[in-house]
């Protein structure tokens, strides 16, 4: 079973990087430009794990987490926050909103893959 990742980030660069890292690791990776699109794609094709940015136009990362956690189905899919913020209160806020974990940019490929494996239970 290939792990399906949904990466939501308004930065083209970050999206491409995540995509590359995920695909290189043998996962499939869908992409969305903002929260609204991300939630739509989530409903359309529920992934095994969501990686989302926090600061985004239209709907931010907290909105994405809420929309998924308050949804009817697949509300327990792991959601990883990919962010430049490592301040403890921001982590706490992300956790309160329902984030499963976080990855602090700049991520290194190995770290992000291992976090994804860890929250999805995928074998290395």
């Amino acid at each position: 079973m290939t792990i399906k990742v949904l990466a939501i980030d308004d930065s083209r660069t970050i999206r491409s990087l995540v995509h590359k890292v995920m695909v290189d690791a043998g996962f499939t990776c869908a992409l969305a430009d903002d929260g609204v699109q991300g939630v739509a794609k989530f409903k359309e094709d529920p992934p095994d794990v969501v990686i989302t940015d926090l600061n985004m136009p239209n709907m931010d990362g907290y909105g994405v987490i809420s929309a998924i956690r308050d949804g009817r189905i697949h509300r327990n899919v792991p959601i990883l926050v990919l962010t430049t913020e490592s301040a403890p209160h921001l982590k706490a806020r992300a956790r309160e909103a329902g984030a499963t974990g976080w990855i602090v940019k700049p991520f290194d490929d190995e770290a992000i893959i291992s976090v994804v494996r860890r929250v999805t239970g995928a074998k290395g």
Binding site: S11, P57, R69, H74, S114
Partner: protein, 718 residues
């Protein structure tokens, strides 16, 4: 590797766009015309640049963007008021961010030295140096969440290391956040030998079973060589979402291994709690958060239809577009060849053929316009960059100046936009440096001490007109003439009209600044500006009113690939004159032609005298002896010489022609701007009416001055 490089390119491309958005947002804030979303967008732009830069380990950029972002965050949360001083610092910081990005792209570090100065300015906004928390944040930028590598830790043959007992009771929030106890235990198993006991004591009877309430706990025995910190890091994400007690045990006596120790495996039966069943609904304690979330979601949902959702775009390699443009050029040539062949074969009598040929022509034109539109870009980013140039120039000269832009949405060919950057920069610097007066002089003249540079773009009959206007003192014509005489650019006794004096500025080697300033006086004169504009098939002109300011007008073709031309013949040669230059076609009677002096002739058009330019003569063609006197004149408008009438032998028709540069294959020919391939395969030269008219100026003729003065005034009022 190449993929990494292309993502890096993408980063810089995206950063470029973000910097534009940043500049635009800051300009709106500066003008006081902003709302929270503007500030948010500004914040996000810097934030995204920081994020991308972090991914490429561009630490200098990250560090600066971070502090910049911190200040913007304060503004965003209304803790800092964006007053004039703060706006100045923000704009300067945006400028600095731009140069740091340029540095990062080129791999050079030419501006890093200035960073501390900007950082301290930003710190001052925050009321002191960066807070300790932020320092800490910088320090922990590396990925600290997880350091375990699944591949490296092979399970030890025999249990060794320190035994730990971990008591783990998940809260419902743990399941709600998408965690799975089995995965956490599996992660522990990667650290060493694990023996997990499930605690079912809190599992109620079926009657009292609440699916939303977690009721399982685990006692995990872990023997590992890793430290306790490593074990804690496994639980990092679930901190606060479970009761967790990790206790180190005394080492197990090796001679007494517990035979019943089970190596934990993710057995299916351990997964008794299906997370989706156990997932609790956010309630009471989390009510406010839940409500806030819903409000967020509702806002986002509702806002979607109202807000202008960006149009979907497609990023295409420029090479592909250029290939398409070339192909369309060939299509247009092919179309005109077929049209010509049809008329030669006298097939034009067949209504069907005529309709199809005409359809083909219209279709080819539609395709061409659509393709050109792909390359068209708004001048906005270019204009936005200029506000930085104005700020820098004003700083360097100690003047105060602002930039007012207009018509930023006007679109021009990408190459034109790119190649216009240098001349425009130079002209803007000139306008601040030479055009504007000092604040004292302005106050003395009863003007606003802050000078204004107007930069505008507009489409006018197949061309884009860019004007740079300052409200300075205007040109000092006496001084210009003096310098030109001193440099032998004009003869000492020549009487020049005002526009002619102004045009002297464009002559090579002309520089008015008596002291070379460190800004615009870099040995680059306006002649370089003019050459750059002419190379793009454009024109630049100047007009000035003493005491009120100077205006430069650049007119540029919208595309560099095709032009609408009038096909004419001159001394047996077929030539093309750009339609944009032609005002009308005239066949004058003898009474309208006047001879001035020995050779010069004037044409009287509705009471105005217009100089005549014989194209054949201008290009050095000799007419056959018995050739009838040409009678057709094309009235053209030139940027420097006003109206002019070109004498040609015959006018054929109006046609769209594909521009093929001569410069690369042959060399520059005065009076000729390029060449094209006609329908019959013949090569025709595309004439440059301006150059033809200018050549004529070398011959003295004062009678033209009336026209030119009129033209000068016209330009001044544009």
């Amino acid at each position: 590797m190449s993929q990494q490089v292309s993502i890096r390119d993408m980063f810089f491309e995206e950063t470029e766009e973000l910097l534009e958005a940043l500049t635009e947002g800051l300009a709106q804030m500066h003008a006081g015309a902003h709302d929270d979303e503007t500030v948010n967008a500004v914040f996000r732009a810097v934030h995204s640049i920081k994020g991308g830069a972090g991914a490429f380990k561009l630490t200098a950029l990250v560090a600066f963007a971070h502090r910049f972002e911190t200040v913007l965050d304060e503004v965003r949360s209304h803790r800092l008021d964006p007053d004039a001083d703060l706006m100045r610092i923000l704009q300067r910081s945006a400028d600095h961010l731009t140069v740091l990005v340029d540095d990062a792209r080129s791999g050079e570090d030419t501006h890093g030295a200035q960073t501390p100065e900007f950082l301290s300015a930003l710190d001052a906004c925050l009321g002191g140096p960066a807070e300790p928390e932020l320092e800490d944040l910088d320090g922990s930028f590396g990925f600290s969440a997880i350091t375990l590598d699944l591949g490296d830790i092979a399970p030890a043959e025999t249990p060794s290391g320190q035994p730990f007992t971990i008591i783990f009771w998940p809260h419902k929030g743990l399941y709600a956040n998408g965690h799975d106890p089995a995965l956490l235990i599996a992660a522990l198993a990667d650290l060493g030998e694990v023996w997990a006991e499930i605690d079912l004591t809190k599992l109620p009877d079926l009657d009292g079973f609440d699916p939303a309430k977690p009721c399982l706990g685990w006692t995990i025995h872990l023997t590992t060589t890793e430290s306790e910190t490593e074990i804690q890091s496994v639980f990092e994400f679930v901190e606060g979402l479970c009761d967790l007690h990790i206790t180190a045990q005394h080492p197990v006596i090796s001679s007494d291994p517990a035979p019943e120790v089970l190596v934990f495996d993710i057995a299916p039966e351990v997964l008794v709690i299906e997370p989706s069943v156990a997932a609790p609904v956010a309630e009471s304690a989390d009510r406010s958060i839940a409500e806030a979330r819903r409000a967020d979601a509702a806002q986002a949902d509702g806002g979607l239809s109202e807000k202008n959702v960006p149009k979907p775009t497609l990023r295409v390699d420029l090479d592909r577009v250029d290939r398409l443009i070339n192909a369309v050029g060939e299509l247009i040539i092919n179309q005109s060849m077929i049209a010509q062949r049809v008329s030669e074969l006298r097939l034009a009598t067949d209504a069907d053929v005529v309709t199809h040929v005409e359809d083909y022509r219209l279709l080819a034109r539609d395709i061409q316009e659509a393709v050109m539109a792909i390359r068209a870009q708004p001048v906005k980013p270019l204009f936005q960059r200029m506000s930085r140039i104005v700020r820098e120039a004003a700083d360097a000269t100690g003047k105060t100046a602002r930039l007012v832009t207009q018509g930023e949405g006007s679109e021009v060919d990408k190459t034109v936009v790119e190649r216009l950057a240098d001349p425009l920069t130079h002209m803007i610097r000139n306008a601040v440096d030479h055009g504007l007066e000092t604040a004292e002089a302005r106050i003395a003249a009863g003007k606003d001490p802050c000078g204004t540079i107007h930069l505008s773009a507009a489409h006018r009959s197949g061309a884009v007109i860019i004007t740079i206007r300052d409200d300075g003192a205007g040109l000092n014509r006496r001084k210009i003439l003096e310098i030109a005489r001193k440099k032998n650019l004009v003869s000492g006794d020549a009487e020049l009209t005002d526009p002619e004096i102004d045009a002297l500025l464009f002559l090579p080697g002309f520089s008015t600044a008596s002291t070379i300033s460190n800004l615009s006086g870099r040995g680059v004169g306006l002649d370089v500006v003019r050459n750059a504009v002419v190379a793009l098939g454009g024109r630049v002109s100047i007009s000035s009113t003493p005491g009120q300011g100077t205006e430069f007008t650049i007119s540029l073709p919208l595309t560099l690939a095709v032009l609408d031309g009038m096909v004419v013949s001159v001394a047996g040669q077929v030539m093309v004159i750009p339609i944009t230059a032609i005002l009308e076609t005239i066949r004058p009677g003898n009474e309208e032609l006047h001879v001035v002096g020995t050779t010069d002739r004037l044409l009287s058009v509705r009471g105005k005298f217009i100089p005549l330019v014989d194209v054949a003569e201008g290009l050095g063609f000799a007419r056959p002896p018995n050739h009838p006197e040409p009678q057709t004149m094309l009235l053209v408008e030139t940027e420097t010489q006003g109206h002019c009438a070109l004498i040609v032998d015959r006018v054929f028709d109006q046609r769209q022609v594909v521009i093929k540069g001569l410069d690369t294959n042959y060399g520059a020919v005065p009076g000729v701007s390029a060449a094209t391939v006609l329908g019959d395969g013949q090569i025709a030269l595309i004439l440059d009416p301006d150059a033809l008219a200018n050549n004529r100026v070398l011959a003295p003729a004062d009678a033209r001055s009336t026209t030119k003065q009129t033209e000068g005034k016209l330009l001044a009022t544009v």
